[in-house]
């Protein structure tokens, strides 16, 4: 399996080359791998194994319990067959659809990468690995939806799909990681065995919410359904593959996959049934009011996804059986319908129902293919779609509470789906011919092969439902339930309530369809009224985000240095000051200064000079006053046994005055030297005084502590015998701590050179 996934990814690197070298055959060539892999999987399925389980595991980041583990069970097998089988057909289809387009190679590369991601997703047996592939499907679908990137709508839709599914993905990640940390393992197959022990964990609800958030965004459940119809801006092969057969099913897959560990609780049932039912109904209603072929199909997909989620939520064996059959049937017919719609679009140049008609005679093969799929979609016997619908009703009726209510809603949904199927099939292919932008011909083989095959399979598996049951449905149901489950499918189960409901569905659907032109207005009103307009909400959300961001930027990154400094210094003062106060660092009492007169005079000198600096009206006065401060400090150094420091301080002060003088010469006094606004001045003073108080408080607390001058004593002891110098300070500088000095002269060098370069590199100067 590792080899399979890897080779599909590898193919995506080859695709651009093949696309450039053999543009006409690229689709066929690249379909070989998925086709043969499908064949292999089908032989596995037909091998009579009740539960073929293969497992492979490679260490990825073992320290994080992340393994590249793959596991092929019934559910994974069904999905893999759909992914690879439909994938192969879609690749062939793409070759025809994008014939002559120079971007074909790139398109096929993205498609292959997506195929690999999707395959990895359903095969993954490690929650992290699963998530990796989950995100990869989001990214590849971003690239595919935005394939026609010069169109602003495509870009918007791509971003929308990316962020909605990506956001849900992040919730999913948290949910999966939480699940793994509760379960003590990241391997899915081990987690699934936890069962009730997990469901009783206090964090169960959190995990459930997070996982479902991921699943619902991906599978376009209400209220996240809005991205899916918009994603139809993608080229049709993408819609057929990602947005009906595979990617949107990822969420449904996840729900089914995690059923053994998460399923069965009240929260599970009502959340899934509630959201699934709402989504199904909403999708159905919104579908029949569309006039664009792809949008009709998109909304019916939303409806079908809702049904699947609902069935997974019901969780009975019967419901899960219905889940698998519906899933299988839907993937077949919806893929076919999309490709058929794409073929129509490709040949006629339009997808608008009103500008299509009578194509039956012009595109007979396409008509047949679409017809087969539409009948399956409509749920008419003997198609697989019919069996799915029967199972759905049986499953719904068989569930404990509100079964009949649920079944009633499903009847409505299915009737709407039937109407939609009628719209897609009857309107374009029957009736009078309508002039279209392009004169239609039968589509080339690459364009009709896929729909025809899928449509035929829908019929074949309906007729030979025993094979479908044994090969695919039983193993898949067994995997979901977590124990072997024998499934037998029937076209005819006698006159049971389900059949009755089917009859009602068909009657209702046909009625709506035949009255479509009259009731559409009603549906439009209903749709507008019903529509939870998350799509417009999306735009508002983005605008709001940018507004908040701009407000924040104005508030804190406004471009004014003084506000930057004020915030910085205020934060420093507050953070340190509050810590000092609340963590008990202050000294209890301020000791009296034990200073001599000389000390007081020096202190007074500093205070006076500082005050002069503050009040100075010219820079020259200020710098001279500051020089006095420096001088007084030098005297303090001298007084307390630091002659080296005192001299250095003195020399530095002198040099600074020289350099400041050199600079100040050249600065005219355009700006008043004492520039500060009234209210701001007060605020600045508060910050300044706070900072000063902090320094004093810290110093007072510090000098109250005992001090161990062992470092200095040791240096003094070693200075002469080891350092060969009698000036301890100098020996520290050039020997004990010479590395500091080395760094320091680097700073001084850089300052000098930097000043030089800065002056030389003036604009206009040479």
């Amino acid at each position: 399996m590792f080899a399979l996934v890897a080779s599909v990814f590898a193919q995506s690197f080859l695709a651009p080359i093949i696309g450039r070298r053999m543009p006409l055959r690229a689709g066929w060539i690249l379909a070989l791998l998925p086709a043969s892999a499908t064949a292999w999987l089908v032989t596995l399925a037909t091998g009579g194994l009740d539960q073929p389980v293969l497992r492979e595991s490679l260490p990825w980041i073992p320290a994080l319990d992340v393994f590249l583990s793959f596991r092929l069970d019934g559910l994974a097998l069904l999905f893999s067959v759909l992914i690879l089988g439909i994938g192969a057909l879609v690749v062939v289809y793409s070759g025809g659809y994008l014939k002559g387009d120079p971007r074909l190679g790139r398109f096929l590369a993205f498609m292959s990468a997506f195929m690999g991601s999707m395959l990895g997703l359903v095969l993954a047996d490690n929650v992290v690995t699963l998530f990796v592939f989950w995100e990869l499907t989001s990214v590849t679908s971003f690239l595919l939806i935005g394939f026609d990137h010069e169109d602003a709508r495509s870009r918007r839709s791509a971003l929308q799909a990316l962020l909605v599914t990506g956001g849900g993905g992040l919730a999913l990640l948290a949910g999966l990681l939480l699940m793994a940390s509760i379960g003590g393992t990241h391997e899915l197959s081990e987690l699934l065995l936890l069962g009730d022990r997990f469901r009783e964990h206090p964090a169960y609800t959190a995990v459930l919410a997070l996982v479902l958030l991921g699943a619902f965004t991906k599978s376009a459940q209400f209220p996240f359904h809005f991205w899916l119809p918009n994603a139809m801006d993608a080229p049709t092969p993408v819609s057929a593959y990602l947005h009906s057969a595979t990617m949107v099913k990822a969420g449904v897959y996840l729900v089914a996959r995690l059923h053994p560990i998460l399923g069965g609780t009240e929260a599970w049932i009502w959340t899934l049934v509630g959201f699934g039912g709402a989504t199904a109904l909403l999708g159905g209603i919104l579908a029949v009011r569309q006039t664009d072929l792809k949008r009709i199909l998109a909304y019916t997909t939303v409806a079908a996804l809702g049904q699947l989620v609902l069935l997974a939520g019901l969780g009975t064996a019967q419901a899960l059986q219905a889940f698998v059959v519906t899933l299988f049937a839907h993937s077949l017919y919806k893929g076919a319908l999309f490709m058929g719609a794409g073929a129509v679009d490709h040949e006629t140049g339009t997808r608008e129902l009103s500008s299509l008609g009578g194509l039956r005679s012009l595109m007979p093969i396409t008509a047949v293919a679409v017809g087969l799929a539409a009948l399956s979609n409509a749920g008419l016997p003997p198609f697989l779609g019919f069996i799915g619908k029967e199972e759905l009703y049986t499953g719904a009726l068989g569930s404990q509470a509100y079964g009949q209510g649920i079944a009633g809603v499903m009847v409505a949904v299915n009737a709407l789906l039937l109407t939609a199927a009628g719209l897609v099939f009857v309107k374009p292919f029957f009736g009078a011919q309508v002039a279209t932008p392009r004169a239609p011909h039968e589509a080339p083989v690459s364009l009709w092969l896929g729909p025809a095959l899928l449509g035929a399979l829908g019929l074949a598996f309906g007729v030979f439902h025993g094979l479908a049951g044994d090969w695919f449905v039983s193993p898949a149901v067994s995997s979901i339930v977590g124990r072997p489950q024998a499934v037998t499918l029937h076209l005819w189960k006698g006159l049971d309530p389900a059949l009755l409901l089917s009859a009602v569905t068909v009657a209702l659907g046909v009625a709506v369809f035949s009255a479509w032109s009259r009731v559409k207005a009603g549906f439009d009103r209903l749709g507008t009224w019903l529509r939870f307009d998350s799509d417009r909400g999306w735009d508002r959300g983005l605008v709001g985000l940018v507004q908040v961001a701009e407000w924040q930027t104005r508030a804190i990154q406004g471009g004014y240095l003084r506000t930057y400094l004020r915030t910085t210094l205020a934060f420093v003062t507050l953070a340190v000051g509050l810590t000092l106060v609340f963590r008990g660092g202050l000294v209890a009492a301020i000791p009296l200064p034990d200073a001599t007169l000389a000390h007081w005079i020096l202190a007074g000198l500093i205070v006076a000079a500082v005050a002069t600096t503050l009040l100075a009206h010219t820079a020259t006065t200020a710098i001279l006053a500051l020089g006095v401060v420096g001088l007084a400090i030098a005297l303090i150094f001298l007084l307390f046994g630091a002659p080296d420091v005192a001299i250095t301080q003195l020399m530095v002060e002198t040099l600074i005055v020289i350099i400041v003088a050199l600079v100040l010469f050249r600065l005219p006094r355009l700006t008043p030297f004492r520039a500060s606004l009234g209210r701001e001045r007060v605020f600045n003073a508060v910050v300044a005084l706070g900072f000063g108080a902090l320094i004093t408080a810290i110093t007072l607390a510090l000098i109250a502590l005992p001090f161990d001058p062992f470092l200095g004593d040791e240096f003094a002891r070693l200075s002469v015998p080891k350092g060969h110098g009698r000036n301890v300070v100098n020996v520290i500088l050039v020997d004990f701590r010479a590395l500091d000095t080395l760094g320091e002269i680097l700073v001084v060098s850089i300052a000098g050179l930097g000043a030089f370069s800065l002056l030389r590199m003036r604009r206009g100067a040479r």
Binding site: P643, D644, I647, T648, M651, V652, T654, L655, I658, I659, L662, V663, R666, G723, H724, G725, R726, N727, V729, N730, V731, L733, V734, D735, A738, L739, T741, L742, I745, L746, V748, S749, A751, G752, L753, A755, F756, L759, R760
Partner: protein
């Protein structure tokens, strides 16, 4: 440039004296207050004052190298005397002394410091002064 005759005369005399004094301070620094920093600062103050009164051209004539080169030499000297430690004590910046302890790598290190300080300060002063030319 400050055009004061007295200052000019004074700084000319001062320059020589101060440079000599700075070298003295540099070498005595290991035993008495002083050292590379202080020496370097004194010397550069002298040059800076000279340059202020005589102009940067005069200073350039006076110094036979570009101050930038002094910086490079100083840095190089300090680094090399640090690397000498590998030869002697087996560690970076380990001191290496002549028998008797009169000449040692820390002295060269200090000379490096001295040169860097002079070079850097003069680079700045010169660059600022040359703004006028």
């Amino acid at each position: 440039m400050i055009k004061s005759l007295i200052l000019r005369a004074a700084t000319t005399v001062l320059l020589g004296l101060m440079v000599l004094f700075s070298v003295f301070i540099l070498f005595r620094g290991h035993n008495e207050p002083g050292g590379g920093f202080i020496g370097g600062l004194i010397a550069s103050t002298a040059f800076a004052l000279h340059s202020l009164s005589h102009g940067p051209r005069a200073m350039r004539r006076l110094m036979w190298v570009v101050p930038r080169t002094t910086v490079a030499a100083g840095l190089g000297l300090a680094l090399v005397s640090g690397l000498l430690g590998f030869a002697g004590g087996g560690a970076f910046l380990a001191s290496l002394w002549s028998p008797g302890g009169s000449v040692g790598s820390p002295l060269f290190f200090d000379i490096g410091v001295y040169l860097v300080v002079i070079g850097s300060v003069l680079t700045i002063v010169q660059a600022l002064q040359e703004e006028d030319e």
